[in-house]
Amino acid sequence: MKKLSVKSVVAIGIGAALFFVLGKISIPTPVPNTYISLQYAIQAVFAALFGPIAGLLIGFVGHTLIDATSYGPWWSWIIASAFAGLVIGLVTMKMDINEGIDTKKIVRFNVAQAVAHLLAWGLVAPCLDILIYSEPIEKLFAQGLVAGISNILTTGIVGTLLLVAYAKTIVKRGSLNKED
């Protein structure tokens, strides 16, 4: 494995801290006991900016910290969070946000996050739950579906807005013209 750069090390640390802080803040939705998980929007943005390993570890460390400081770690969901970050990072790997953003990149980011969350909450989390906690399949898939859809919506709306706003703040190469 290629060694992590210093910047990735720091990005993982700060990203996980953000993931943790946002995970502790709950914004209510009309569905009882379901909250908007803003942390996944941040995770997706960081995965797109810093790559798959950063996405994976931000999810893993951040989610473990959230769980360990509330009711003990629920490993299957922690692994699903890490998995989502990895997939988003992999799909968005070669798109350089620092070079500006266009519709194609936005679509790619959203396809990446939708696929990632669908797989993570529709497949990885329920399968691990069956393996580890042996809970009824119907409950797990219903739960995973709700979590997955709400995460896709949150990441799609908030994550995309963040990414676009971030790209606008960056001064593009060659944007300065020599005055005649």
């Binding site: 060694k3 992590l4 750069s5 210093v6 910047k7 090390v9 720091v10 990005a11 993982i12 640390g13 700060i14 990203g15 996980a16 801290a17 953000l18 943790f20 802080v21 946002l22 502790k24 803040i25 914004i27 209510p28 939705t29 009309p30 006991n33 908007i36 803003l38 929007a41 941040i42 943005v45 900016l49 570890l57 460390v61 951040g62 910290l65 360990a68 400081t69 509330s70 009711y71 003990g72 770690p73 490993w75 580890i132 906690y133 042996s134 809970e135 009824p136 119907e138 409950k139 219903a142 739960q143 949150t154 709306i157 908030v158 807005l161 963040l162 706003a165 971030y166 703040t169």
Partner: protein, 277 residues
């Protein structure tokens, strides 16, 4: 946002505190694995009793972690309720017999097997809670990176974790400041606004937070690069402690628990202890 109650390091003088971070990390991981693998009632009862004893030894008071226990209780009740609502006959399939205690309505009957399944599932979660809480409450955060490195995790990742722990309070404060400033300008995140508006409003808070975090990443990584971080294969840790006698005893104990757990659980070829056969 009211200051969220978050579990953190509680400094006390106890046997558990004295153990090195490495020991506690190994203990916590082995204990989690042991509880995840088994569904055997006898093993779970033993683990539950042992975790209660460990909690007593740590001299952390129930009062210190009351809010966390409350959260765990709510979580467990909800989880049990959902499992029952979705498949009230799950235990029957699992244990291969059916003893009806009470019929509520339609498919919802209460069977002994279902109750027994719920009991096991609940114990499985509960027996990790004290150990997980103690791991957080009794481990000095600055020692944590050192213990990760000492069980073989790359020190870069260990350093990321300790950066995360170090910057959580800063990020929290920053979030709080930004959200107060934006609320003063009329941006609302509470239930009074429409869902989509709320999401859009959250961007107004998140964007400054992300930008300042990216600046922070730049500053910190420059500082680390200047000090030659990552140049060598290994690094030393200021807070690394040597394993003492008690550490080895604790590690041996938890490994023994794990082995016994595996043996007892899989002895008869099934993960479940079945008293109904």
């Amino acid at each position: 946002m009211a200051k969220a109650a978050i579990l953190s390091y509680i400094k006390r003088d106890s046997l558990v505190h004295e153990l090195t971070g490495t020991t506690k990390l190994i203990f916590f991981l082995a204990w989690s694995i042991a509880s995840m693998v088994t569904y055997d009632t006898r093993v779970l009862i033993c683990m539950l009793l042992m975790s209660a004893v460990i909690f007593k030894v740590s001299r952390i008071r129930v009062r210190d972690i009351r809010f966390v226990l409350g959260l765990a209780a709510v979580f467990l009740v909800m989880n049990n309720l959902f499992v029952y609502l979705f498949s009230p006959e799950y235990g029957v399939g699992l244990y291969g017999s059916r003893t009806v205690v009470l019929t509520i309505a339609g498919p919802y009957t209460i069977t002994l097997q279902q109750l027994f399944y719920h009991l096991n599932m609940t114990m499985k979660v509960i027996c990790v809670v004290p150990v997980a809480l103690l791991f957080i409450a009794c481990t000095d955060p600055s020692e944590f990176a050192a213990s990760l490195a000492s069980i073989g995790v790359s020190y870069r990742i260990g350093y990321s974790v300790s950066l995360a722990l170090r910057y959580i309070p800063d990020v929290q404060r920053e979030y709080h400041n930004i959200s107060q400033a934006q609320q003063a300008r009329g941006i609302d995140l509470s239930g009074k606004d429409k869902l989509f508006t709320r999401m859009k409003n959250s961007v107004a808070i998140l964007l400054p937070l992300v930008l300042s975090s990216l600046n922070r990443i730049e500053t910190i990584s420059n500082a680390m690069e200047l000090r030659g971080f990552g140049k060598n294969k290994k690094r030393t840790w200021y807070r690394l402690r040597k394993m003492k006698r008690n550490d080895w005893i604790a590690v041996a104990f938890v490994l023994a628990v794990l082995v016994i757990d595996l043996v007892v659980t899989f002895w008869d070829g099934s993960r479940y202890y079945n008293p109904f056969m």
